[in-house]
């Protein structure tokens, strides 16, 4: 046999099953609270009615077909895309800001992968029992108990996944109507396809793949280390007090009190492995910070409960920074926010949030856009004057009908010809294009390169808005 073959590692590693033990504690309580809130909002909001007159009365409705996005009292249109960009920018910056302060807080508590996996594990626990029972079931041959219990688990998972997919789809069409259509077979094929895809992906991601999503698929897990500093708080094992000089030791006779253990140069860790059993990604936090760690804090709960029960000081596993743990006498862990990076993220966050709020608060009830007709750019008329043509599009975003009056500024009022549409009345949510031709004499055209269109809603003349336009005549002058 040739040497070296045995050391080749396989290209594809089979998943090592993880049987997560349940644990009580403050982090677990926080995680349940987040889950309750997240599920309440996600599954509830879609059914919240929001009367809007003739428009669909759903509080949050993203109507892609009609290109209208209803969010409570606001209606957004595709031209508001900038707001979505700002929102995404805020989300990214918030993620970076929080990560550089307290590590992967998003992963551990708020990520939908974590929340759904938590729920799926809870179902598993409910039907199959605690960790030892689940391991026993796993090792059993396929007999009635195993088939029944695993079958029931997967069925509940599929139902939960289905309802997740259905709820998601319902945000894109009127939910009560979808509910009726979906179950009477009348919904659009896109709805069935979307629900099916989301059902399958939810079932696979939260039921089967679980932590593999975080370790193999999620890009964030791989680049989050960039945002970590020595000062970043992260779930960490206090190796000094846990291991002592001679390492951890179980709670055997003569090693039961701290005094005895320290005298024999052993640390506080009694090697109960509870921190490993409760870990959703199956790692041992005592090996230090690892890329698979999603920072859920369950090992902190586990360790604290054990330390309390044996009367040792709590906090052997805790949120702490690398720089603090390196010290001979680690101080109380605290947030190190006075760092250039954190302040920078914070400033960007404040600036963009401010922009978003100001932009939404100052939103006008109508939208307008001026487009110049560019083929031809200008036309020489029979009396020698020059004509440019424009298309002015007005969108009424208010929830009532409105009459708009068009005008010009910077050129004589008579130079602009609005045809029959000097005034247009628009229904709520509708938009209209008005063709305007502007005619200037060569003398006027020589002086004017820019002017403005004015759009004035009749009910609120003060809300007048301007649209910049150029006048081209260069080649004929």
């Amino acid at each position: 046999m040739q040497a070296g073959i045995e050391e080749q590692s396989a290209l594809y590693q089979k998943r090592i099953p993880i049987f997560q033990r349940s644990i009580h504690g403050s982090f677990r309580r926080f995680k349940w609270a987040v889950l309750a809130l997240a599920y309440g909002v996600f599954f509830g909001l879609v059914w919240l009615p929001w009367p809007r007159g003739t428009e669909p009365s759903q509080a949050l409705l993203l109507d892609i077909a009609a290109r209208k996005f209803y969010i409570f009292d606001f209606v957004f249109y595709p031209q508001d895309l900038i707001l979505l960009s700002v929102l995404l920018f805020i989300a990214a910056t918030l993620l970076f800001f929080v990560t550089s302060l307290v590590g992967r807080a998003f992963c551990g508590y708020f990520c939908f992968q974590t929340v759904w996996t938590d729920f799926f594990v809870w179902v598993e626990h409910l039907i199959q029992g605690e960790r030892p029972a689940r391991i026993r079931l796993y090792k059993q041959p396929w007999k009635s108990e195993k088939i029944l219990k695993l079958g029931a688990t997967h069925l509940v998972w599929l139902l939960a996944a289905f309802w997740t997919g259905f709820t998601f789809t319902a945000y894109f069409t009127y939910a009560p109507q979808l509910f009726v259509d979906f179950f009477t077979g009348q919904a659009h094929s896109t709805a069935y396809l979307t629900v099916m895809i989301l059902t399958v992906s939810t079932y696979v991601a939260a039921g089967l793949a679980r932590e593999q999503i975080c370790t193999y698929i999620c890009p964030y897990a791989r680049f989050q280390s960039v945002m970590y500093d020595q000062e970043t708080l992260a779930v960490a094992y206090d190796e000094k007090s846990g291991e002592g000089k001679l390492g951890r030791a179980s709670l055997r006779n003569g090693m039961k009190t701290l005094v005895e253990r320290h005298a024999q140069q052993h640390g506080d860790c009694i090697d109960c492995t509870l921190c490993v059993q409760v870990c959703p990604v199956g790692i041992d936090i005592r090996n230090g910070l690892q890329y698979s760690c999603i920072s859920c804090g369950l090992c902190i709960d586990a360790c604290n409960s054990i330390m309390s029960s044996v009367g040792f000081p709590r906090g052997l596993i805790r949120y702490d920074s690398e720089v603090n743990l390196k010290q001979a006498q680690p101080a109380q862990p605290k947030l190190h926010w006075k760092r250039l990076k954190v302040l920078g993220y914070g400033a960007a966050l404040l600036a963009m949030t401010g922009f978003l709020i100001v932009d939404i608060a100052s939103r006008s009830d109508f939208d307008h856009a001026v487009n110049q007709v560019r083929a031809p750019l200008y036309v020489l008329l029979s009396d020698g004057s020059i004509r440019n043509r424009y298309q002015v599009r007005i969108t009424n975003r208010a929830n009532h009908d409105e009459t708009f009056r068009l005008g010009v500024r910077g050129i004589p009022e008579a130079a602009a010809d609005f045809g029959n549409f000097h005034e247009v009345t628009l229904k709520s949510g509708k938009s209209l294009m008005v063709q305007v031709s502007v005619k200037l004499t060569p003398e006027q055209a020589a002086k004017v390169t820019q002017f403005e269109f004015t759009v004035t809603p009749r009910s609120r003349p003060l809300a007048q808005r301007l649209g910049q336009a150029r006048f081209y005549a260069k080649d004929v002058l």
């Binding site: 040739q2 396989a10 036309v379 029979s382 009396d383 549409f421």
Partner: protein
Amino acid sequence: MSKDKMQSQAVQTTGHAWDGDLQEYNNPLPRWWIWTFYLSILFAVLYWIWFPAWPVAKSFTPGVGKITYVDAKGVTKTTGWNTRADLMREMNELAAIQKPFFDKVAAQPYAAIAKDPDLNNFIASAGKQLFADNCATCHQAGGQGKIGFFPNLADDDWLYGGSFEKIQETLIQGRRGYMPPFGEALSSEQIDLLAHYVLSLSGEKTDTAKADAGKTLFHSETAGCFYCHGDDARGRPVIGAPNLTDKIWLWANVPGETAQEKKLAAVQNVIKSGLNKGVMPAWGQRLKPEQIKVLTVYVHELGGGK
């Protein structure tokens, strides 16, 4: 470290050894890959059954998929699946969406259409498409035409009249612009005088004496220009004789020239050779009445109408 070792599995070999020490790794494909492969085979089989797939002698297996569509003559046809039928079916769907608008255009008089904002928006987009398909070849994408070839539809000069009715008439019947050649009837001096006069009409700087002489000639029986272009040289839309007093040039590219001689030469050339290429084809048989109506409003809007 211990964890790493645990995770690495020794790779199996096929068990054969050649030349004493040559072995082959056995790395089976992942399950998901295999299943994707099987599913794609299944997909291919279903695809063959549904769509035209296999060549058979001079024909092919047509597939069981059927498409029903209405062709250009209004006949409903059902054929095996093919891309042309699929395109026709899609066009039928789109035509059905446009139909209410076309019906509305067909049912209303021009005066009412011009005042309807929604119909105007429809005409701005549908008209643009019809114009691009049928008219833009000559009149260019924005209707700006080309001096010496095709009239500009975007200016305010209307050879045959710019009312809705006149534009519709032009579209349905077509037009034939004609000017007889004067190269043999007149001497080149006379043509030069006329050219001076015609240029002066449009406000170009010319020799006043020559222009005055040209004016006399214009109104004389010798040249007879006034028969078509009118006593005031403002043209006669009834026969499509253009207005010579405005700044718009149809055949002689005066705006494109800067030198006086060249401007004169351009005008002289038109007078000398005359014109018989101003042909607008008739569209009455090619387009549907409602399409002509849409184009009429579109072209009227392009030049502002009259």
